[in-house]
């Protein structure tokens, strides 16, 4: 179980492989070095923007990959653990495998692409913070668990497969697209924001009311959508005297 706070283009830029191998990480209370777990080769750029990191191997026990990075890229040819792209400001991350929970927590910008599944809390806020994901894009090709986009303010999350429960809970902005099915609790306590579900929602919340049927193209998929507004149980801001709700678009059955 390796907490790797320093696997980022920002930490690697301008360093030699030996210096990168000496970067600190943690195994519980023990201070370890990257070199204890990885062989480092190649050369980073002078800036994060010019630095591309490729990790070969199973990182399912490596946390914090891409933590707070601002530019450059990281590719992992395998799985990764929690906090991938946590508090990320820019750059690109591509995980060619699954990730655990808290992927993109507190994200402000950049792109995350996960080829496999994600755990829970994709693009969420840290505990207690009412300011969640602010920007950037997270795409999960597989399925995801619960708490997608909690307290979201901006940015886009795309789950190409199914999700469990609690999408955009407490959201005040942002866009979440679920291309598969969701069990329930979509848009609970949401103040603002847009949610698209291309599959089925098993349990709709009573606070969402259908107002419209619209034609939309969502992430390359054209279709007819039932347009709901809500959460009617929650407070909403007013603009020009009119209440602004969160929007939930559910693809109509063919």
């Amino acid at each position: 179980m390796f907490e790797a706070f320093n696997i980022t283009p920002d930490a690697f830029a301008g360093k030699t492989p030996a210096q990168i191998a000496a970067l600190e990480g943690r195994e519980g209370k023990i201070k370890v070095a990257l070199g204890d777990f990885f062989e480092v080769s190649g050369s980073p750029g002078n800036t994060a923007d010019e630095t591309d990191v490729v990790i070969v191997g199973d990182c399912s026990r490596v946390k914090y990959i891409g933590n707070k990075m601002t530019a450059g890229s990281i590719t992992v040819n395998g799985n990764a653990d929690m906090y991938v792209g946590g508090w990320m400001k820019g750059g690109k991350i591509h995980i060619k495998g699954n990730v655990d929970s808290f992927c993109g927590i507190g994200m402000e910008g950049g792109d995350i692409l996960i080829d496999g599944k994600a755990g829970n809390y994709v693009g969420c806020a840290y505990r207690g913070d009412w300011r969640g994901m602010k920007g950037g894009t997270i795409r999960i090709r597989g399925s995801a668990g619960n708490d997608i986009g909690t307290f979201m303010l901006g940015g886009t999350i795309i789950i190409e497969n199914n999700a469990f429960i609690h999408v955009s809970t407490h959201a005040e902005g942002g866009t979440v697209i679920i291309k598969g099915d969701v069990e329930g609790r979509v848009g609970g306590q949401a103040v603002k924001g847009d949610i698209y579900v291309l599959g089925k929602i098993q349990f709709m919340l009573p606070g969402f009311k259908k107002i419209d049927v619209v034609e939309k193209e969502v992430d390359g998929v054209k279709g007819t959508f039932n347009h709901y507004i809500g959460d009617l149980g929650e407070r909403h801001p007013k603009s020009k005297g009119k209440e602004i709700f969160a929007n939930l678009y559910v693809k109509a059955a063919a």
Binding site: Y126, R127, G128, D129, W130
Partner: protein
């Protein structure tokens, strides 16, 4: 115990009217003395200023609502305080620091004594547990009385002596310090979801008005002859236009004479007066009424106040003004905690961001400073931020910087998005006054100590007083042109000696000292009626047993007791 001599610094001691003389300060056995032997440890204070330890008259540092602030704000810790000095406890939290961080950070700033601003009596054991887990600094706590059922009942019947007997009993069993009044009557009304927003709104069921509660407690305080005066947070906090109610509340002190053996001259201490100096009648025409409020305070020697300066941080508001916090939540929609305390009081906690890009926050910032700059008697006007309500206490050096430097004030004004609107609604831009170090020492040392009735212990460097001595890296004869250096100097003391032990050097903690819990033992002849009323209430109304209510001695393990014998 050891002898120390702080040599050659610029001493600033308003209690002896010393303003920058180069002098030595001699310490022996934890007290300031006239002189010491040649074997004394020498602290070189040459080129630096020397002041007594700071005295904070109002901060929320220990107790249930402070802890709610810590508990429900994990984000107040995230990335904000990765800090543990080797050999000392871990430090956590920015706006609501852990008890360890509280003690360490106050000591780094050279503060000797902090008053926990509001103690709900039912939770007294909690307050004392936190106090004894706070290193270095001496502390006391003020129990709240302004919404207490017994107090409201006795005062309604005009029974001052019974009120005093109840207060005496409660201060004793909670090991408290004095009489705190928060939103008198309003918080009791809040138990039914209501409030008292004028001095004449009666409390539901008890049918007593805030005006009657204030007047009654003023009398009770002087009847008892307590070291501190009645300490009040007025009604209608935080609302535009509340300044008139503030002045009307202050006027209730007219004619009341201070009666005590502790050198206290005021009868009312008005706390965080910034929040109570608002003009206009909406957020649109919100403006400063600091001048009007200070005009009254300046003319009345029987009033002291502390500023409650806004520091423009993301912070946590917490107060026994329960209805106010509910109102704040409706304004900023941030998470709201509330605890109504049976028979006694309530508390609310809501995070708040004082954003320099919001006009109202800029005006609040200006009001706090204007009050300090309009003060005619700095010995009656104290620096505070109502920690953490208007900002964390680690910003006191920043407040000092603003009060001492117009350049610093203007620099901050320049960062406001709506600078012109803030200037139009306040007087800050036209005030040139810059407070001197002597005046700062009055506002943070001699003034608060006297106000608390402890001028023989804290606030000065006269022989006999506690050896709480701060050395700060500022050259009295050659003050820096960069005001940031003022803030840095006061934030990390060059040296801080607490009760004769060197506990801080260059802002690093050296030891945990031997803090004391200060409380007032108010002794009155036994009042059988009051005791019967109390006992009966515990049987019927409270949900804890009366035996389990008084705080046990072991929870205040190093007490310093001030005895008050109430004359019949």
């Amino acid at each position: 115990m050891s002898e120390i001599i702080v040599k050659g610094g610029f001493v600033i001691d308003p209690t002896r009217k010393i303003d920058g003389d180069v002098a030595d300060v001699a310490i022996k056995d934890g007290k300031i003395v006239d002189k010491v032997s040649s074997g004394a440890k020498i602290i070189d204070a040459k080129g630096k200023i020397v002041m007594a330890g700071g005295v904070d008259v109002h901060a929320h540092v220990a107790g249930p609502k402070v802890n709610v602030g810590r508990l429900f704000r994990p984000e107040d810790k995230l990335f904000k305080s990765p800090m543990a000095q080797d050999g000392f406890r871990m430090e956590s939290g920015f706006s609501v620091p852990s008890t360890f961080k509280t003690g360490y950070d106050y000591a780094r700033m050279g503060y000797a004594f902090v008053m926990e601003a509001a103690m709900p009596p039912l939770f007294t054991a909690h307050v004392h547990e936190e106090i004894h887990d706070t290193p270095i600094i001496d502390e006391a706590a003020l129990p709240v009385f302004g919404n207490n059922w017994f107090v409201m009942d006795y005062l309604k019947k005009g029974e001052i002596e019974n009120t005093a007997a109840y207060i005496a009993w409660l201060i004793r069993v909670t090991k408290g310090f004095g009489i705190k009044v928060v939103n008198p009557g309003g918080t009791a009304a809040w138990a039914w979801g209501l409030n008292c927003l004028t001095l004449n709104d009666p409390v539901p069921y008890f049918e007593i008005t805030p005006s009657e509660i204030i007047t009654g407690l003023l009398k009770a305080n002087e009847y008892l002859g307590l070291p501190h005066s009645m300490h009040i947070h007025q009604n209608d906090l935080g609302n535009p236009g509340n300044y008139q109610l503030t002045i009307d509340s202050l006027k209730l002190a007219e004619g009341v004479k201070p009666k005590n053996k502790f050198g206290r001259e005021q009868v009312m201490h008005s706390t965080h007066i910034q929040f109570h100096s608002y003009g206009g009648d909406s957020w649109a025409n919100f403006e400063s009424k600091a001048k009007e409020v200070m005009d009254y305070v300046n003319k009345n020697k029987a009033i002291t106040c502390d500023l409650g300066c806004v520091t423009l941080d993301e912070t946590t508001t917490m107060t026994a003004d329960g209805p106010f916090e509910h109102h704040l939540n409706s304004l900023n929609h941030l998470k709201w905690c509330n605890v109504d305390v049976e028979m006694e009081t309530a508390a609310g906690v809501v995070p708040y961001v004082y954003d320099k890009n919001i006009k109202v926050c800029g005006i609040q910032w200006a009001i706090g400073l204007e009050l300090g700059l309009y003060a005619k008697d700095p010995n009656r006007t104290f620096i505070s931020t109502d920690h953490p309500n208007a900002g964390p206490f680690i910003r006191y050096p920043r407040v000092i910087k603003w009060l001492m430097s117009k350049k610093a004030r203007e620099a901050t004004l320049d960062t406001f998005k709506y600078k012109d609107k803030v200037i139009a609604a306040t007087n800050i831009h036209s005030i040139d006054r810059e407070l001197t170090l002597y005046e700062i020492a009055q506002m943070t040392r001699s003034g608060p100590a006297k106000c608390l009735g402890m001028s023989n212990i804290y606030g000065g460097l006269a022989p006999g007083m506690n050896a709480d001595v701060g050395v700060f890296d500022l050259n009295y004869k050659n003050m820096p042109s960069d005001p940031e250096k003022i803030e840095q100097a006061f934030l990390r003391a060059a040296y801080f000696i607490k009760s004769g032990e060197i506990v801080v050097r260059d802002g690093d903690i050296l030891g945990h000292g031997h803090k004391k819990t200060i409380w007032v033992n108010v002794k009155m002849p036994e009042n059988p009626q009051v005791m019967r009323d109390i006992t009966q209430s515990f049987t019927k109304d409270y949900t804890v047993g009366i035996d389990n209510y008084p705080v046990h001695d072991y929870l205040a393990p190093h007490p310093f007791v001030i005895n008050v014998d109430v004359e019949a």
